[in-house]
Amino acid sequence: MEHHNHDIVIVGGGAAGLRAAIAAVELEPKLDVAIVSKVYPMRSHTVSAEGGMAAVTREYDSLDSHAYDTIKGSDFLADQDSVEFFVKEAPRESYQLEHWGCPFSRDPDGRISARAFGGMSVKRTLFATDKIGFHLLHTLFQTTLKYENIRRYDEWFVTSLLVDDGRVEGVTAIEMRTGELVTILGKSVIIATGGCGRIFRFTTNGWIKTGDGMAIAYRAGVPLKDMEMVQYHPTLLPNTGILITEAARGEGGHLLNKDGERFLKRYVPNKMELGPRDILSRAELSEINAGRGFDGPYGSYVHLDLTHLGKITIEDKLPFVKELAEKYVGIDPEHEPIPVRPGQHYMMGGVHTDMHGFTGMPGLYAAGEVACVTMNGANRLGSNSLTECLVFGAAAGKAAAQYALKMNSPSFGNPVQGEAMTEEKRIFDQLLKHEQGERIASIRTEMQDSMDKHVGIFRDENSLKEACRIIGDLKSRLNNGIVEDKDHVYNTELVSALELDFMLDVAETMPYSAMLRRESRGAHYRTDYSKRDDANFLKHSMAYKTAGPPRIDYSPVTITRWKLEERVY
C-alpha cells in the first residue's frame, strides 16, 4: 500500500486546521505539515459563518467581561481556565488575522468595527459586513499558500486513525481521484474536521459536516465530551435551513410572533433579541407550540423583522442576509419580515481536549468545532466559535509541533501496516461489494428525522430512549446497506456510506449522554428535569466507545474565579 510520511498530519482544512498548520510552520519552519481535506479548503464549512468573531479590542471592554459572558453563556459548564486562556489570546489572534489581510469592516478611525451579539454585554464582535467566515477562511487559506512546507491533500477522505501501542501515528485516507486507500503517517495528528450537523435533518450545516473527526477519534479510544450539548440556532430559513445570522438581531432586528408581539419580553426581558441562543430557540418553539406561530408549508415559524433598520444599515452591514432572503424565500427584508425557525447549528460537544488541543492520546490533537475543550460548555455564545478556531487551532498547532520535534518518524511496519490493510478490506471488500441491500440515503434520512424528533430542543426520557433504540437499529441496517456506485474513481456514494457510518457512531453518543444527564443546562433541556442541578451534574459527560452502546463516564468542571449563579438574562 502506498504510504507518505510527514511531521504533522492535519485532518480538515477549515479555520482551525489552516490556523494550526500556520502555527506549526511558524514555530519551526523546517516542519513538514500535511493538510488532508475531503474538499478543497475554500469549501470548508467555515465559509458560511456570517456574523463576526468576538475579541476584546476596545477600551470599554475587558477580558474579565468577555470571560464572564462566555462562562454565563455556557450555563457554567465551561472550564474556566480554558475560557481565561481563550479571552486572553483572542485579541492577538484577531489582529493577526487582520495582518494577514482579512477585509474587516472599519470604523471612521480606521479600526476594526465591532457589533453587538447575543449574550455579549458590550459590542465586541468584529465583523466583515456579514460574511466573516468567508473572509476569514479565504484569508487563512491564501496565507497558507505562502509556506512551501504546508502540503495539501485536496479531496482525500480520511477513514481511520492508525494507532500503535496507544500512540497515534497517522491516518488512512481514500484519494478521491483514484479511489485508492493510502496511508499518511505523521509524528502527530491534529483533527480539525468540524461538527456533525448533518446528523440532523434541519440544520444550517453543509453536506460535509458529518462528524468524521469525532468518529475516528472515538473509534481510536478518545472520549467524546458533552455530546448532549447541541446548539440550536434561532433563525434558520424554513425548509432549506439556511442560516440568517445573529448579526441581524445584533443590528437591531426583532423577533415577532403571530400577534406581532416581541415575545422575548416574556423570556429574556433584559437582553431581548440579544439573549443566548438556547433560550431564544426554546422561546420560539414555545410560542409555536402555544399556537402563536405562523403556519407554513415547511412547518411553523416566527418572524424576524428588519424593516425598521433602514436601507443603509441593511446594505452596509447585512447585504448577505438580504441576498439570501430575496433568493431563497422571495422576501426583501427592507419591507417584509423574514420567516425563521430554530434548527441545529453547532456542536458544543466533541473530541475531549485540554486547552492546548491535546486529547490525552499521545500524538493526537484536536481543535475547532470538532473539539470540546470546553470553553462553550452547555451553550456557545455567537461569534465565539471563529475566535475559538483561531485560538485553539494555533494552540494545537504549536503543541503538535512541539511533540513532533521530539519524536521519530513512525515507520510503515506492523502494527500500523496491518491496521491499514484491515481498513482497506473493510471498505473495499465488505462495504463496496454488497450487491443487494438498503439504500444509503434511506437509512440516512431516517437517522436525520429521528434525531430531529427525539434529540431536539425539548427532550425527555422517552424520546431519548427511542433515539437510542432507533440508532442501534440503523447501525445494524447499515451493515446490509448497498453502495450502488461501484467505481473506484471519485466514488461519492462510497464516501456517503462511510460518512453515514461515522454519523451513526457519533449520533449514538448523544441520546445516551443526554439520558443520563437528568437536569436541564444550556442547550440540553429536558421537560422531565427542567431545572439545573449543580449538586449532581456540574460535570462533563464522557462517552467511550464499546462493542455495544457507549459507556458514559464523567469528568469535573474546572472552576477558577467565577462563582456559580442562576443564569438569568
Binding site: E2, H4, W156, E175, R177, T178, E180, V182, V489
Partner: protein
C-alpha cells in the same frame, strides 16, 4: 500525490462555433469584426488624403464623392459606431465616477461620450470639408 493518472481526465476542445452559443458571445464577435472595417477605412482615408496632399483639395473631394466610396463609408460608419457605443459603455463600466453613495452608470458615460463624439466629428468635418 499518488498515481492520479490511471484514468486520465476527459479533455474537451472548444468548438470553432463557440461564439454561436449565446447572444453575448455573438455580439462580441461582431464587435471584433468591426476592427476589419476600421482598418480598411483608414487605408481608404489615407489614400484620399494623399490625393489632396499630392494634388488638390478637389481631387480629394471627388474621391469622397465616388458612390463606391460613399457606400463603403456608410457600412464602415455603422460598424465603427457599434464599436464606439460598446466601447463607451465599457469605459463607463470600468471607470465609474463616485457621487456621494452612488456611482455613475455605464449608460451615462455612453451618452456623455456620444455627445463628445458628435462635437469632435462636427469640428473635423468643418475643418476638412466645409471650410
Amino acid at each position: 500525490m499518488g498515481d492520479s493518472n490511471r484514468y486520465p481526465e476527459l479533455r474537451r476542445r472548444i468548438s470553432p462555433g463557440w461564439w454561436r452559443a449565446n447572444r453575448h458571445y455573438a455580439m462580441y464577435m461582431v464587435r471584433e469584426w468591426t476592427s476589419l472595417f476600421v482598418a480598411l477605412y483608414s487605408l481608404v482615408f489615407i489614400y484620399g488624403v494623399s490625393l489632396w496632399a499630392m494634388g488638390s483639395r478637389a481631387s480629394f473631394l471627388n474621391f469622397l464623392r465616388n458612390p463606391a466610396i460613399v457606400g463603403f463609408s456608410i457600412v464602415a460608419l455603422v460598424f465603427t459606431m457599434y464599436h464606439a457605443v460598446t466601447w463607451f459603455y465599457l469605459l463607463g463600466a470600468i471607470s465609474p465616477i463616485k457621487i456621494g453613495r452612488s456611482k455613475t452608470r455605464p449608460w451615462q458615460a455612453l451618452v456623455l461620450n456620444l455627445i463628445l463624439l458628435v462635437i469632435v466629428s462636427y469640428l473635423a468635418i468643418w475643418l476638412l470639408v466645409l471650410r
